[in-house]
Symmetry: C2
Subunit: 263 residues, 2 copies
């Protein structure tokens, strides 16, 4: 099972051009699963809610249809971030998984970062794991990583790999993924964008360096900080399903929930 991480540098607001560019990058390599970044084709730094609204897509409009067609054409599963205009009239920072069989799954970001709180509604989908052709794909978006409970939840739900669509501006995640991977014995694919946006009085620089980390903490992919590209690696679910650290310790079953504080 081959996973591709597509690292891009979208131009704010240029949806069609950005999608073309993403699809061009996808053509450069062949994989079973393609993971794209958070808000993959809109850009990130919105000036107003109305601007965001204009760039948002409903779950089944013609923008989304392009990804569905691409999944069929590539006979692959595609996961990408987008601004979702919900049926409830609210806008979510979401990711969608589309399969060549026509299945779609939407995850709505649980933990909004920084000024996203001004524009988006906090996700209400809960974490989602979707099994496709024998691999269990967990969905998470950017800042979700910061809370260990997010990837832990996906691991407890059986995820082999976390499709972690990101627009990271803090310097922590790519390093911290090491802990997240080994503590859960899962693959983590943090797909990040490069470049910068300065549409307000604040400049946001995205940290690039998309990483694929193995259940043993090996960095199978570490993409460049400032280049777009497609990065592909094989993953092996026998590794992510063996939670036995040694003959006495199981990384999930050894948890002693009784002693953990939740509040």
């Amino acid at each position: 099972m081959k996973v591709a991480m597509v690292q891009n540098n979208p131009v704010f607001g240029e949806k069609n051009e950005n999608i073309k560019e993403l699809f061009k990058l996808m053509e450069r390599g062949s994989a079973d699963i393609y993971i794209l970044q958070e808000l993959a084709y809109t850009g990130y730094q919105f000036r107003s809610k109305s601007e965001l609204q204009e760039l948002s897509d409903t779950a089944d409009n013609e923008t989304i249809l392009k990804f569905k067609e691409k999944a069929v054409q590539k006979n692959s599963c595609i996961i990408f971030g987008f601004s979702e205009m919900g049926g409830d009239g609210k806008i979510y920072n979401s990711s969608m998984l589309v399969t060549p069989e026509g299945k779609t799954v939407i995850y709505r970001k649980t933990h909004l970062f920084y000024k996203e709180n001004l524009f988006f509604t906090p996700g209400n989908s809960g974490f989602i794991v979707h099994e496709w052709r024998g691999i269990k794909i967990g969905l998470a978006i950017c800042f979700d990583w910061f809370f260990s409970e997010s990837f832990r939840t996906l691991a407890l739900m059986g995820a082999d790999i976390i499709a972690h669509c990101s627009n990271l501006v803090m310097p922590y995640c790519q390093t911290a993924d090491y802990a997240r991977a080994i503590e859960n014995r899962i693959y983590i694919a943090t797909v990040n964008r490069i470049g910068a946006e300065e549409r307000t009085d604040e400049k946001l620089t995205f940290t690039g360096q998309s990483v694929l980390v193995s259940p043993k903490g090996d960095y199978l992919i570490k993409a460049p900080v400032d280049e777009t590209g497609i990065f592909i690696h094989e993953i092996d679910t026998t590794l992510s399903r063996n939670k036995q650290l040694n003959e006495f310790n199981h990384v999930l079953n050894d948890r002693r929930d009784l002693f953990y504080k939740k509040g």
Copy 2:
């Protein structure tokens, strides 16, 4: 507030000699809080339960008295790991915090590692935070680190620093402490031993390199892999108590417990 981490290489079974050596290392530097390793003066690789029993101490016997006297003499708080003969006749892998005011607190390791399961009883104390002279000290022992819930629990209980007494043989913890520190915005003092033991057909090599990590993920101390010593650094509770990552995000309050799986 100064924290000292004492990295030692005990000789198996030589309790008195090991304590002398620990105290000698402690004399090399002055600090408010001294943190020693897991099973600080017994050694680690027990051959049998009866051997372990002989090397165990009750909470108030004359071995423990030495540490209490040392705390008074140094006017410092000392945290050290020991094999505790409980009042219930069971043996726990514990750490004790002793203060110059005569207070003692015992934490019993929640998550036993590997063959410890053959000898020790799993801890039943739950996680503990003790406030001393204005600093909140959380207690954890070695493998507890592997479960993100452990340090999260201590952070939710208000810990500024985690006194993490360890005998690490796996290569992960010192690197993973980075994630544990930033996700909770706390200091982590992983105090590890050096050297090796080969009292059975299995050789155990301890990884040394005790680390003190700041709430921002800076490695304030990174001790050598194979040298004993005392390593001292100032800590600042204003850093560990500021959980505001930016004006919108709080590292603990932004948790969305409703969406976290516990089972």
